[in-house]
């Protein structure tokens, strides 16, 4: 005890020196001593807040800029969005059909979410719990499909949907989005299921549950964070994805929000206020989903998913 105190003593008188003749922040010596005593990861606060503040500036200024253009009157150059006007939103929602695009995007997003999660749950369970002959081949196909550029599949996909008479129906986009979401979703979900001990399920079988009931009662609740992560991925991706909708939906009343935004971007004289308002409408649902899931996203991934 006394030895420990003696060892620290020579350090504390040194602290005022460094504070007076060096530009180091005051109290640095004391903090360093604290770190040694307390937590191993206790970093000086300014080393966290300064870089974080700089990065936040880079992240938030673009959002702010969009919001600014969306709510200030046309022709204004003020950097403060006051007084607020909703004229751009009204214009974009009705005249530019964003109300309709919003509904279409919502249908595509929710349908893709439901289909992807359901199908991937079945496939992931098979991969996690069974040995079967084509298992390795199926895994390989899932991995290889990651290298296939969706953009380059546009023409053959277009021909397929034309033959199925699904061009200009939201179904074509829902199927295409689901198919390209599936491989990664199956890999992720099978990783989550592997983390649930088989013994839990076996105990339920012994109690007389069928495999399906045991799965619903025992495994499904434990998969919640993972399923939320996978489902929100599917929703956000299909909400955001642009090329399939652009190619397969040529009728205006079937188009989705990214296509609508692209039309505004490509206009001869871009209406910046309308464009910004359209951007805000496109951002709101995904930002809400994101705010809701971001905690689960980190726990979902960290439960070993990425490493399968």
């Amino acid at each position: 005890m006394t030895a420990a105190l003696a060892e620290k003593d020579p350090r504390s008188p040194a602290a005022p020196d460094s504070a007076t003749d060096a530009p180091a922040p005051p109290g640095r010596g004391a903090r360093r001593k604290n770190r040694r005593e307390r937590a191993f990861d206790d970093v000086p606060r300014w080393q966290i807040y300064l870089p974080l503040a700089l990065y936040l500036l880079f992240t938030l200024v673009p959002f702010y800029w969009m919001l600014l253009f969306a709510v200030r009157p046309a022709g204004s150059t003020s950097l403060v969005p006051w007084p607020i006007t909703f004229e751009h939103f009204e214009k974009v929602w009705t005249e530019r059909s964003f109300g309709m695009f919003f509904e279409n995007s919502m249908i595509v997003g929710v349908a893709t979410l439901v289909m992807t999660t359901g199908i991937a749950l079945a496939g992931g369970y098979a991969l996690a719990r069974f040995e079967f002959r084509i298992k390795n081949g199926f895994m390989l196909a899932l991995l290889c499909s990651q290298f296939i550029p969706g953009a380059l599949m546009l023409v053959p996909l277009f021909e397929i949907f034309k033959n199925l008479q699904m061009i200009n129906s939201l179904g074509s986009v829902i199927i295409a989005e689901t198919v390209f979401q599936l491989p990664l979703s199956i890999i992720l979900i099978s990783g989550f299921i592997k983390n649930v001990p088989v013994t839990l399920e076996e105990a339920a079988w012994v109690d007389g549950c069928s495999r399906f009931r045991a799965f619903c009662a025992v495994v499904l609740p434990l998969l919640r964070p993972g399923l939320i992560a996978v489902g929100s991925f599917a929703f956000v991706h299909s909400w955001n994805h642009f090329l399939f909708a652009l190619m397969f939906l040529s009728e205006q009343d079937k188009q989705t929000i990214p296509v609508g935004l692209n039309t505004l971007i490509g206009a001869d004289s871009v209406d910046l206020g309308a464009l910004a308002a359209g951007g805000v409408i496109a951002a709101v649902p995904v930002v809400i989903v994101f705010a809701f899931i971001q905690k689960w996203l980190i726990t979902g991934f960290s439960s070993g998913a990425v490493k399968g």
Binding site: F40, D41, V43, R45, P51, L52, Y55, L60, P62, F63, W65, F69, I119, G123, Y125, F130, F132, A141, C144, Q146, F147, I148, A151, L152, M153, L154, V155, P156, L157, I160, I175, A176, T178, V179, I186, R211, F212, N240, F242, P258, L261, N262, L264, I265, V270, L272, G279, A282, A283, V286, F290, A291, Q294, K295, L297, I298, T299, F301, S302, V306
Partner: protein, 293 residues
């Protein structure tokens, strides 16, 4: 009890398998098939078997293939390395304990959810020469009025890089932060007792632990950055003067606007082989799944 256990796994993978056969495998095979054909809807009289003519043309008679491939390579390398570096720093920052961590995480990760088209929307507003940031900077005496970074061949690359970084960094930060949660705390405590500083702890504990996650994330992201056309298609349209045309954009132009689907299919095949080869090489060189863990 439903289906017998022997058949159950097949039933379970059937929906995914059938969808992927119909909408991934079949299009891929048809691309391979058409790459050996002359197939152009505007010149139907020339349609027919072409052998390897399309491939010969790619490698001997198509300077645009090489320039777009070069741009794609540059784009992928710059994006992935910058996104990884910034994402790593960001993940380490928000992994610390500090006041306001939850809200800080939510804010710095938020561009992850933003689409390519929306990124274009936002950055077009920022880059706009008359109402964008450059105008306010010029008001303050920095730079000059009328700077349009997107129509200048000298600045357009970095302007596009910045926009893509803005939405790309959170992907790395989220994955790395997730993996950081699984580093055993005792390792740091032991290293701390042994007198290892923060830098040494980072290089000897954190980085080796993150290796597999980093390799996988960079690979997935590299492939994704190579294939994805949303942002460049809407932000620059491949211009000005074609300097931001990636290989997939070139393929899309050839196949969809030029209607030369046979040649576009051959380009696709070449791109796919290059991508696969680079990925395998990358996994080998990085010793993915190696013995350090």
């Amino acid at each position: 009890m439903g289906a017998p256990p022997r058949r159950l796994p097949y039933l379970l993978i059937a929906p995914a398998g059938l969808l992927m056969l119909g909408f991934i495998a079949y299009p891929v095979i048809s691309v391979f098939y058409y790459s050996l054909q002359n197939y152009n809807v505007t010149k139907p009289w020339r349609n027919g078997f072409a052998g390897f003519d399309n491939f010969t043309r790619i490698f001997t008679d198509d300077p645009q293939f090489w320039t777009t491939l070069g741009f794609s390579a540059r784009w992928v390398v710059v994006q992935v390395s910058l996104q990884l570096a910034l994402g790593l720093v960001l993940a380490l920052l928000v992994n610390q304990t500090f006041v306001g961590r939850g809200i800080a995480r939510a804010m710095v990760f938020s561009p992850w959810a933003v689409s390519g088209v929306l990124t274009t929307t936002i950055w077009m507003l920022l880059y706009n020469p008359s109402t964008g940031v450059s105008r306010y900077l010029a008001d303050a005496g920095i730079g000059s009025y009328g700077t349009s970074v997107l129509s200048d061949t000298g600045t357009v690359f970095w302007a596009a890089v910045l926009a893509e970084l803005w939405r790309g960094v959170p992907f790395f930060a989220i994955l790395i932060l997730a993996d950081l949660q699984s580093v055993p705390k005792e390792l740091y405590e032991a290293a701390s007792v042994d007198g290892a500083g923060r830098m040494r702890q980072f290089f000897h504990i954190t980085l080796p632990h993150l290796r597999d996650a980093i390799v996988l994330a960079t690979l997935l992201r590299g492939v994704w950055e190579f294939n994805n056309v949303d942002l460049l298609y809407t932000l620059t349209g491949g211009g000005p003067a074609g300097v931001t045309t990636t290989l997939p954009l070139y393929v899309a132009n050839t196949g969809i606007e030029g209607h030369d689907f046979g040649y576009a299919s051959a380009l696709t095949t070449v791109a796919f082989v290059i991508l696969l080869f680079c990925s395998i090489l990358y996994l080998r060189l990085s010793k993915f799944g190696g013995d350090t863990k």
